[in-house]
Symmetry: C2
Subunit: 399 residues, 2 copies
């Protein structure tokens, strides 16, 4: 970290672990007898407990959404651009709750946890969890924290899907669902990319059918590849272009001139990284593979693939929304090709058909799907304005 904590940061935060003994029946029919959820909170809960916001994380996120765990941290939480005093999710106004979802690998019970029944790692025996399972576990957390109703449930990508599920499953327990860069369900292409990621993990010889921790090994290459593929889909073609260079035509030696994308040395005429984008992907993949559990990655991608709230309503998503009583705020980003604006517009159409109150903002941004993590002024502006209105509603006066 820099020497001092920025003034618009929530500062130093300490995660708390909540243990749950009541068995949780999952969508698969399997039962999780007990589990832990690790949680961070930022900002104070007000006297009538009306200012709580739940943050739901995406595929590789966790409870550490904002602030720092220690003054030595190199980076703040994953959504620090949006959460903090004076930021879009203003911790001067709101009490923010952020958890690591079930199946995660950052402290909540997941495949890398010890199964109390066997005293071994869960590994591949950890059950497949769905968005609905997560929302059910989050509702229990809400009870534990004695929060009667969320001012808002907020998430981007897979997190946005949780916000939608909240609106459908627990209509009386949230005032607003804020769903950013998400989709009503995955496209075949989305599922295909997820399957490539899974296949790269499960075909790594060090995967050992998911029992790699017991074997004292790790499917590093597989997880690295999975992340490399994922990373490409999070960025737009334009974002990559501006990050790794337009044409830089340099003369190397007579008769042997090649263009490159911000390459520093000569072309290798071999299979080393010739272009900066290659080294960048390696670095991203490698760093991720050292900090994330492969079985969790599999679970998260399956939760994405299985998400489709319309299935209880004969495929008609507008019917799924009919009983919702919260207001909706949706945002999408112009160059997001993982969950492009058209997917958010599908949601808008079904919400309108169900006669729900909604706001929708489409943000021009070059950054692709990852835009939802970035401090893009129009995005932060719209996000912030909306939550100020939410605050006025719950407190009865302007913020």
């Amino acid at each position: 970290m820099t020497n001092s904590i920025p003034t618009d940061s929530v500062g130093l935060v300490t995660p708390q672990t909540h243990h749950f003994d009541k068995p949780l029946t999952l969508r698969s029919g399997k039962i999780l007898p007990s589990y832990d959820l690790v949680v961070e909170t930022y900002g104070k809960l007000n006297a009538d407990k009306s200012n709580a916001i739940l943050i739901c994380h995406a595929l590789s996120g966790d409870h550490h959404a904002a602030g720092f765990h220690s003054v030595d941290d190199q980076k703040p939480g994953w959504w620090d651009a949006c959460i903090g005093p004076g930021k879009a999710v203003d911790t001067n106004l709101f009490h923010v709750v952020s958890l690591n979802n079930l199946g995660g690998c950052a402290g909540s019970t997941g495949p890398a946890s010890i199964n109390p029944k066997t005293s071994k790692y869960y590994g591949p025996d950890f059950p497949v969890v769905t968005v609905r399972d997560w929302v059910n576990s989050q509702a229990r957390l809400m009870d534990r924290l004695e929060i009667p109703k969320w001012a808002a449930v907020v998430g981007g990508s897979l997190g946005g899907m949780q916000a939608l599920r909240w609106a459908i499953s627990y209509p009386e327990r949230l005032n607003h669902a804020i769903c950013i860069a998400a989709a009503p369900k995955l496209s075949a292409q989305n599922i295909a990319f997820n399957e490539v990621a899974r296949h790269s993990i499960t075909s790594d010889p060090n995967f050992h059918r998911g029992h790699y921790l017991e074997e004292g090994t790790y499917p590093k290459q597989g997880l690295m590849l999975a992340r490399m593929v994922g990373h490409i889909t999070y960025l737009s073609d334009n974002a990559m272009r501006s990050k790794f260079g337009k044409s830089v035509a340099e003369i190397e030696e007579e008769g042997n001139n090649f263009g490159r994308d911000l390459r520093t040395g000569k072309l290798s005429f071999g299979f080393n990284a010739d272009f900066q984008v290659e080294s960048y992907l390696h670095y991203q993949g490698e760093r991720f593979s050292e900090n994330f559990d492969a079985n969790t990655y599999l679970l998260m991608t399956k939760a994405l693939d299985y998400f489709d709230p319309s299935v209880d309503y004969e495929g008609d998503l507008s019917k799924a929304f009919e009983n919702c009583s919260c207001k909706f705020m949706l945002m999408s980003f112009s160059t997001d090709w993982r969950f492009p604006p058209e997917r958010s517009r599908e949601l808008v159409n079904d919400l309108l058909k169900a006669r729900k109150q909604l706001s929708y903002v489409e943000i021009e941004a070059d950054a692709g799907h990852d835009a939802f993590l970035l401090p893009i002024p129009r995005y932060i502006g719209a996000f912030s304005t909306y939550l100020k209105k939410v605050y006025s509603e719950i407190t009865g006066h302007a913020s």
Copy 2:
């Protein structure tokens, strides 16, 4: 195959191998002392040898572009939709030459060939070849076949890049360059996908630094993954959607309803293929991995990455085109996100800047990059009309 050969097929064809003893100096500076090129031809060369068309293949293509090798063949050559009597590349009018490029694995000298110096497989010692090297080797083949000038050099994707290179390197030896679904150079995203493919191959423990043939093994999983990723990028999101189903909400059992993409069974709540697109990708990847050489795949992707004719002209592609004397025909497809229409328009702009004669057609098609392989009526129409004009030019009368 079906019981009889279709009447619009070139019929049974037999590849021929041409051996070249004159050393070929490559762009890398390395020298290939001798090599074979395997070739197919369709249609008759006319008396003044003016009706020859060169077909250049893309990443995974080869010399077998049309017709059948035996009556038992299940499938014709890869571009049979476009080459044959009465088809766009009309073999009643043209003499068509199609080869497997150097570094390939279908008969021309490549990594899976025996290095005469060592009597072992070339493997990773086969030099990196570039589009320019291919075009140089194709010019030698042209001499061998005693063809003075191509009526047209034609290719899609990486094949289109060869057509451009022909126009620049050998301006006096072709009348038309037909460049379909290509780009002036790769984007960072293109390179990133190629690098994922390469990394998946080279990190497969059976790769043995490229010496897998000597080791009697094969990086099957790596090649399979590479193809799976590639395959996603060849199809549009829409094409996948229509191939693998829109929402099919079926009731399975009470309280356990899920939507799926044309899935037949129940959701597995495990890591088997739950969606048809997953099985489809597995099948494509598996089939490919059994029929293609992994080292060749590496070489082909590097040839793509290195392609950029502007580098000899200080990054100004229009200058690269200045000495071209052929006419150009470019086509692109609306949903191609690998080499989208914008990339073809870049080519158009630089050709116009260089004051070259050109035609450009943008085809509405749902099939993504793969559209160039398919018998899409507007595409075949434009392609066919153009080549009929080419035929009129060379023969001085209407076809």
